[in-house]
């Protein structure tokens, strides 16, 4: 008898029951709808988890409710004059200067009063709801994991491979992110420091000279070698760069975001990065007894704001702003009324931040209403379902088909226009595919030129409206297909310009407006 005729080498997936996957992937979707597979493929989402339940009312402060806030939380509220105003009705905590500047630069959006029906105030349960994007207690997969399952069925069998050499998601730290839990595996790869050649994060490996120590060394080595993602991450980090001087080495979130900038600029194809910042469970000493604008929560918000601002600055300098978007989330907000310990207890809805070169600058949703008398333990009622924000991110950012998105959620989705600033409008999408177009237009520091070429020499030049050549954006031979060529506008003054496309199959000229 042949030794192996009984049980052929079965892969993990082949043992599960046949599973009906929907038959398309990100690429296919993007191809159909946007003709821009590379764009969605290159897009990166940064998720920052504010762990513990962020006090939204102390973060994004409804100035028009200040009088009643003063009644409900007199011992913790920041003085009105210290609040950074975004508009007459909305302000940011005084320490959040970095994010205030981003808002003014058009790189920050605020979604107000985000939560879900029948808020669960357990950290653990609520975080599970936020990471799965499902209210269903039996949900086992994460919201991104479900999407990735559709795009990459059978993961982790035969991954990484030549088409997908990089981790689909990276969770900074030691724990895989529940947002990326798929059917058979978690799509996120943990990285503590991408410059460690062994960045699986499991390296123990101290050989204490015993048989056991020798095994530990051996196993650590083999694990590192096995960890093909680790080498990719390492190579990318080493190849990448960082240009911003705003990062503070004592700000752990900033350090991690800098690592991410280095991985992205080094060419890592990872789509999602998840970061975590602890300490938002501010039951006591949320503010210092001496000043309501200092203390634990102020420190956390400063850490967050400084880190994100430095990262955005880096992305701008690296020419990556249109490829990267970020979002914060927290398991719940806190109660409206403060407690006697200079803190706040578990509450309900809270604001959520979106940032990046493609965010639709706005404050989305009305301020919460604070009354002078409130029920005991009242939180902020939910106005926008976080699952709709997730769905909107999948649609606007990863260009997933809305029909497909609906299958990933249990509720009927309402889309919000949150990250679509860099997408082609429907009208543009419908345009003749042989016509070149530039998007977004108007643009900030980055635009993309969509151009169809034959197998031909192509030169793309930028002129001002006086006809002076500013620079050459591309010069070379392009294969016959639709191309998406980045146009760097960061060194240009605000104003109108003209992009000239020289090619044998027909020259074209497109006007573009640079805005701040």
């Amino acid at each position: 008898m042949k030794r192996r005729d009984f049980v052929k080498n079965m892969s993990l997936s082949s043992l599960t029951i046949p599973f009906v996957f929907n038959n398309f992937k990100y690429e296919a979707i993007a191809n159909d709808l946007f003709f821009v597979p590379k764009m969605a493929e290159d897009r990166v989402l940064i998720l920052i988890r504010l762990n513990g339940g962020n006090d939204g009312l102390n973060t994004v402060i409804p100035l028009d409710q200040y009088e009643n806030l003063l009644i409900q939380r007199p011992n913790i509220i920041a003085p009105e004059s210290s609040i950074l105003t975004l508009n007459p009705a909305v302000g940011l905590h005084p320490v959040m200067t970095g994010m205030k500047n981003m808002f003014e630069d058009g790189k920050l959006s605020i979604i107000q009063n985000v939560g879900y029906p029948e808020q669960n105030r357990s950290h653990f349960r609520s975080m599970d709801i936020w990471t799965s994007g499902m209210m269903d207690i039996s949900a086992t997969r994460g919201w991104l994991g479900r999407s990735m399952d559709n795009a990459y069925p059978n993961f982790p069998d035969d991954y990484p491979n030549t088409d997908y050499p990089d981790p689909f998601a990276i969770s900074m730290g030691y724990e895989v992110s529940a947002t990326c839990q798929g059917l058979m595996a978690n799509f996120s790869h943990t990285v503590t420091n991408p410059f460690d050649s062994v960045n699986l994060g499991t390296a123990s490996g101290l050989n204490d000279g015993t048989y056991y120590g020798s095994h530990m060394e051996y196993l650590s080595t083999i694990i590192a070698q096995t960890n093909a993602y680790g080498a990719q991450v390492n190579d990318a980090a080493n190849a990448g760069s960082t240009l911003s001087s705003l990062y503070d080495n004592n700000n752990p979130l900033a350090v991690q975001l800098r690592y991410i900038a280095q991985m992205i600029s080094g060419g890592l194809k990872t789509k999602v990065y998840i970061l975590n910042i602890n300490g938002f469970d501010t039951h006591d000493s949320q503010v210092a007894s001496t000043s309501t604008i200092t203390g634990k929560h102020a420190d956390l918000l400063k850490t967050l704001s400084d880190a994100i601002a430095a990262f955005q600055n880096d992305l701008m300098l690296l020419g990556l702003e249109s490829r990267v978007a970020g979002m914060t989330f927290s398991e719940f907000g806190r109660q409206i009324a403060s407690n006697a310990s200079l803190g706040t207890d578990h509450g309900d809805a809270a604001p959520l931040f979106l940032f990046g070169g493609c965010s639709n600058t706005s404050i989305y949703g009305a301020n919460p209403t604070i009354t002078n008398e409130i029920e005991s333990q009242a939180g902020i009622p939910m106005a926008i379902d976080f699952r709709d924000i997730y769905a909107s991110v999948l649609k606007d950012w990863f260009l997933v088909d809305p029909t497909e998105i609906q299958t990933m959620f249990e509720h009927s989705i309402t889309y919000h226009n949150v990250l679509g600033a860099c997408n082609l409008s429907v009208a543009e999408t419908e345009k003749d595919k042989n016509t070149s177009l530039v998007y977004p237009n108007p643009a900030g520091n980055n635009a993309t030129l969509r151009v169809q070429t034959n197998d031909e020499w192509t030169k793309i030049t930028l002129y001002d409206l006086q006809g002076r050549q500013i620079k050459t954006c591309f010069d070379g031979v392009l294969h016959p297909q639709m191309h998406h060529i980045p146009i760097d506008l960061s060194d240009l003054a605000v104003g109108n310009y003209r992009i000239q496309i020289w090619k044998k199959s027909g020259n074209e000229s497109i006007q573009i407006q640079k805005v701040k």
């Binding site: 000279g209 694990i223 096995t226």
Partner: protein, 537 residues
């Protein structure tokens, strides 16, 4: 061990009974080496019972339940009953045999997953490795073979070898069934000497391997002639058997070499093989050879001259003095001062079955569906073990699995780069993603049962300490312990875990409070199962 690497050798070379501290560390060490995946309760119970009582319990061999029929394809044995004494159907016996073979494969996993506090399954795997016959073409014979292994697991080794020599499965495996006076087949005789009894020493002259010579192989082949098998795949006889056919037996007198005292073996027909084996067992090399293997399996791969001269020599003496009873040897080893030496903890890298069942068993994870679903889940587990490098019933060669003899790597062979990835995929699968599936029935880690079995589940530091006790032979670094606690508490202060656990404890059937607890434990275990420290016993 790398070539030339110096390692700290055991301090204690004493085979005297261990009289040091008896805490969770020692008890867990004993259990990790003798059962698959001890639970926290088994460890604490062993601490309370003490070493002697625990070893006594471990050395009892419970009754072995036979595999059951779960498929109508069997054609004869009703579903839910055993097929081990059933004929084959006249129509489609192949389908019947396939269903029986799948049942056997599942049965091996059931035995390991539903083990009692007994060394039985570890011993049976040891003997499967030693007498490495694979599935034969009648599963009743395969079953009988494994039943025989079970019967002699701690029994008399000499009798064991005699029974194996004429076992139908072995007669097929090493061609004994076609060995006859007209055309002697040396296969079994050679392995009987080289792999099963005296072992092969250094070659000291042409055809002379110190412990036996080529002429002994030839003589042995002649001695073993005449044995036949019958009723394989029979539609009328309910079991297989072997029988002696005198007409094809070589009746000449056989001469053995000086390694066997130049003994002569006169014709004794069906008793002749037993006489031959009695002669083999007069050579003390049998005891040394087997005790080395036992040492490597239960203690450490590194048979230094000192270990040979002290530990192995003492065990071999015990073996011989007891007329080759296995139990006293294993008992002496498991109670010895040497066995508990700290330098011998974590010296064995888990084989795939140990890896899988150190996860399932230690976490109280037993599938609890219908008989048919359970068998399918166990069969899938069997296939998974095959995928990650170890297939029960199918050792890779007559010498067993290379990890048990191949220097210098030994058990490191279980953990090459592709196997490690598969192990990690498996770990994620059973902790975070539901686990092995049949339809909607899933077999994953039972996180809550595991957690509730720990000493103080509401305390995050205690939970992590207990987890380390259960899974890590030499503990974990402070950093790793903090990391695991961080994952358990989701980065929150410890009291938040206490609140969450207590909410669950008072309302355990409320998934709204239980699921978050489960998720945290799952994330901790997922990480732990990928640590180097978890890979050893």
């Amino acid at each position: 061990m790398k070539p030339g690497e110096e390692v700290v050798v055991p301090v204690s070379l004493s085979m005297d009974p261990y009289a040091g501290p008896w805490n969770k560390e020692q008890a867990a060490h004993l259990l990790r080496r003798t059962i698959f995946g001890p639970t926290f309760q088994q460890i604490t119970s062993a601490v309370s019972a003490g070493m002697n009582a625990t070893v006594a319990q471990i050395l009892t061999i419970p009754v072995l339940d036979p595999p059951l029929t779960v498929s109508a394809n069997d054609g004869i044995a009703p579903i839910g009953s055993t097929w081990v004494n059933s004929v084959y159907p006249a129509s489609n016996p192949g389908a019947s045999e396939n269903s029986r073979r799948e049942s056997l494969a599942a049965w091996a996993m059931i035995r390991i997953n539903q083990q009692s506090l007994s060394i039985r399954e570890k011993m049976c795997l040891f003997w499967q490795n030693h007498f490495a016959a694979e599935f034969t073409f009648d599963s009743r014979a395969t079953y009988n073979y494994h039943k025989l292994i079970n019967t002699h697991a701690l029994g008399n080794f000499k009798q064991f070898v005699k029974d194996i020599a004429i076992d139908p499965c072995m007669l097929v495996f090493l061609n004994g069934a076609t060995n006859n006076v007209f055309s002697p087949n040396e296969n079994f005789a050679r392995e009987l000497l080289e792999l099963y009894t005296v072992g092969k020493g250094p070659q000291i002259a042409p055809g002379d391997y110190t412990t036996f010579k080529e002429e002994d192989v030839l003589a042995g082949a002649k001695i073993m002639t005449g044995w036949r098998i019958q009723d394989f795949n029979s539609t009328t006889v309910n079991n297989t058997s072997s029988f002696f056919h005198a007409q094809i037996h070589d009746t000449t007198t056989k001469n053995l070499s000086e390694h066997f005292g130049n003994a002569t073996v006169a014709n004794a027909d069906e008793n002749e093989y037993a006489n031959f084996i009695d002669i083999i067992f007069q050579q003390p090399a049998v005891a040394t050879f087997i005790c080395r293997k036992i040492y490597r399996y239960f203690v450490n791969y590194d048979l230094t001259p000192t270990v040979e001269d002290t530990i192995v020599a003492v065990l071999a003496e015990t073996f011989i003095n007891s007329n080759y009873e296995i139990l006293p040897v294993v008992e002496q080893l498991l109670k010895s001062d040497h066995f508990y030496d700290i330098a011998l903890r974590g010296t064995i890298i888990k084989n795939p079955i140990e890896y899988m069942f150190s996860i399932f068993n230690a976490t109280h994870s037993v599938p609890n569906y219908s008989l048919g679903i359970n068998y399918q889940l166990y069969f899938n587990a069997y296939a998974l073990c095959t995928t990650i490098g170890m297939s029960y019933f199918q050792p890779p060669s007559v010498g067993g699995w290379t990890a048990y003899y191949q220097a210098p790597s030994f058990t490191r062979l279980w953990a090459n780069s592709s196997y490690i990835k598969l192990r990690f995929d498996f770990a994620s699968w059973v902790t975070l993603a539901g686990g092995i599936s049949v339809g909607t029935s899933k077999w994953g880690v039972n996180h809550l049962a595991f957690l509730n079995g720990l000493s103080n589940p509401s305390s995050a530091p205690d939970v992590i300490n207990d987890i380390v006790t259960v899974f890590c032979p030499k503990g974990l670094s402070a950093t790793n312990i903090l990391t695991l606690k961080y994952i358990l508490t989701n980065g929150l202060p410890d009291f938040e875990w206490t609140i969450q656990y207590n909410d669950y404890a008072v309302d355990p059937n409320n998934t709204t409070v239980s699921e978050p607890v489960k998720t945290r434990v799952a994330l901790v275990l997922d990480r732990l199962f990928k640590l180097p420290e978890f890979q050893t016993i």
